[in-house]
């Protein structure tokens, strides 16, 4: 059976790969969107944090025997706490000055974290086995669907939509949105905006840490694994609309799918298709597909 001239298993395989990549794009761009929306910081350290999540999961497993499932809980908490320290000690000094300084600081941090990881662990990738429960694949008849990849897609969707619901549907989310829109008035209502900002940054980077743990059994755990990914994720944030929460989730998944299908039908274009879409969006709708004009 063929689909537009290609065997169905090939197309479906690339759709699954696209959805898995899209899941990572969605979690990472969601974290970036939350941080940009609240702190106005373009968080270039996000890719390094994602790598740190995967590396911590690998370290916990190989050095301390901590299972994947515990890592899925512990690593985002550790990374979130690290993010809170970064925000309190460094980022908050930059809010009153030009965005460029925030970019420079987070870019510098990314290079330091990646450099230290390379110094301690080398540039080669390290393998991380998928948990027992998700080893193997489902046989769909026309293709084999790896169980772990299904888990990644489901877990990402649940985390993304839980984060969206927390921001859009809860009292805490209303405080976050109000503090983003007019922090001075939110403070005059008795809302501790300073703590909210710290927790928001912690949440944003914890999402990247969570994505890193999810990614560890799929990609090789390596100090440079976040380096190339972060550029694609920034393109997705621009396409979705800077600061748009739902936009970043939908755009992340959709562009993962577009990238997967392009890999099936025109492999040479698959590495640039997201950037072509970004350029088109910037020309036709500069505020992004879901951004406010």
């Amino acid at each position: 059976m063929e689909l537009f001239g290609l065997p169905l298993p090939v197309v479906m395989g690339q759709i699954v790969v696209g959805l898995v990549n899209g899941s990572f794009y969605a979690i990472l761009s969601l974290g970036l969107a939350v941080i940009f929306g609240m702190l106005n910081i373009v968080n270039f350290v996000h890719g390094a944090i994602y790598m740190l999540g995967a590396l911590l999961a690998w370290l916990l497993l190989t050095k301390l025997g901590v299972s994947y499932w515990w890592s899925l809980l512990i690593v985002p908490l550790l990374i979130g706490a690290f993010g809170c320290v970064l925000e309190r000690t460094m980022l908050r000094r930059l809010y009153q000055i030009d965005h460029v300084f925030g970019i420079l600081l987070t870019l510098g941090l990314a290079y330091i974290i990646e450099g230290l990881a390379r110094y301690w662990f080398g540039a080669a990738g390290m393998s991380f086995d998928a948990p027992e429960a998700f080893s193997g694949a489902y046989n769909l008849g026309f293709m084999r669907l790896p169980k772990y990849r299904v888990w990644v897609i489901v877990a990402s969707l649940v985390v993304c939509f839980a984060t969206w619901a927390m921001i859009e549907k809860t009292k805490l989310g209303a405080y976050l949105r109000a503090s983003t829109e007019n922090p001075a008035i939110a403070r005059s209502f008795g809302i501790n905006v300073s703590v909210l900002v710290t927790l928001t940054y912690g949440l944003g980077v914890a999402l990247a840490g969570f994505a890193g743990v999810l990614a560890a059994p799929i990609y090789q755990v390596s100090p440079i694994m976040g380096h190339s990914l972060i550029i694609v994720v920034f393109a997705i944030v621009v396409i979705g609309g800077m600061g748009s929460i739902l936009g970043s989730i939908i755009t992340g998944l959709f562009l993962g799918l577009v990238e997967g299908l392009t890999r099936a039908y025109w492999p040479e274009a698959s590495t640039v298709v997201i950037f072509v879409v970004m350029i088109l969006v910037l020309i036709l709708r500069p505020s992004g597909l879901f951004g406010k004009e």
């Binding site: 009292k171 109000a178 829109e181 001075a184 008035i185 403070r187 005059s188 209502f189 008795g190 501790n192």
Partner: protein
């Protein structure tokens, strides 16, 4: 009223926005249950006085006590939690929230705030528009919403900044009735106004501010006899 304890005490308050020195030593006292109006021309320093009391200016000095507590070293959110509700001049209705979400947004600071039903009794328009996006309300409705949302929190000192500005006379009259009702309920009100007639009808005392200083202070009983001098000061 003179025997009531002081709700707000401001002594030699100075404030700056960056390099700009906007308040040069404000002295104000407001007793519990009093309605005091700060009058003055545009740029005289009335709004800055409210913002400096709340710690919303970049720098301030002097002495501010709320319910007897020195608040100069407190951050804004802790000052608010002493029971201060701020209704800003620009109304600051959140565009990302509906009318009712705006109403429910400020956290409860103290017990004794109005219930949602009581607020809707006071402002029936808001009940009709409760599902509408906050910034889609008319100017008058937005002003009502900005006032209403601080009544639910239990704040007992209300800072109302230019609430009559740019509104139709019928809405201004309605807001005047609401302030009368709030006075009856024992709220302490600081009313920043440019509308002299509106403030004179409601306030127990007036302070006139000019160039970041209090230049005149008189009780309601003396307003009629001092009207000519006041109008000259206010440039009316």
């Amino acid at each position: 009223m003179t025997s009531s304890p002081l709700a707000l005490e401001v002594k030699h308050l100075q404030a700056w926005y960056g390099e700009s020195h906007v308040l040069h030593g404000i002295d104000i006292e407001v007793r519990q249950g009093e309605c005091v109006s700060l009058l003055g021309r545009n740029g005289a320093g009335r709004t800055s006085t409210l913002r400096a009391i709340l710690g919303l200016t970049s720098q301030r000095s002097g002495e501010v006590r709320i319910h007897g507590r020195d608040v100069m070293s407190l951050p804004t959110h802790q000052i608010a939690r002493l029971g201060v509700g701020y209704c800003p001049e620009e109304r600051a209705i959140y565009a990302s929230l509906s009318c009712e979400e705006n109403l429910l947004l400020p956290p409860v600071l103290k017990p004794g705030g109005m219930s949602l039903d009581e607020i809707y009794d006071l402002f029936p328009n808001l009940k009709e528009r409760r599902k509408s996006q906050g910034t889609r309300l008319s100017g008058g409705e937005q002003q009502m919403l900005a006032m209403a949302r601080i009544l639910r929190t239990g704040a007992d000192i209300l800072f109302l900044d230019e609430i009559s500005e740019g509104l139709a006379p019928v809405i201004v009259e309605k807001l005047g009735q609401v302030i009368e009702a709030l006075k009856q309920r024992g709220y302490t009100i600081v009313l920043v106004e440019q509308n002299f007639e509106f403030a004179a009808d409601l306030a127990d005392r007036l302070y006139v501010i000019e160039h970041g200083e209090v230049v005149s202070h008189l009780p309601a009983a003396e307003i009629a006899s001092q009207q000519a001098a006041l109008k000259e000061l206010l440039g009316i």
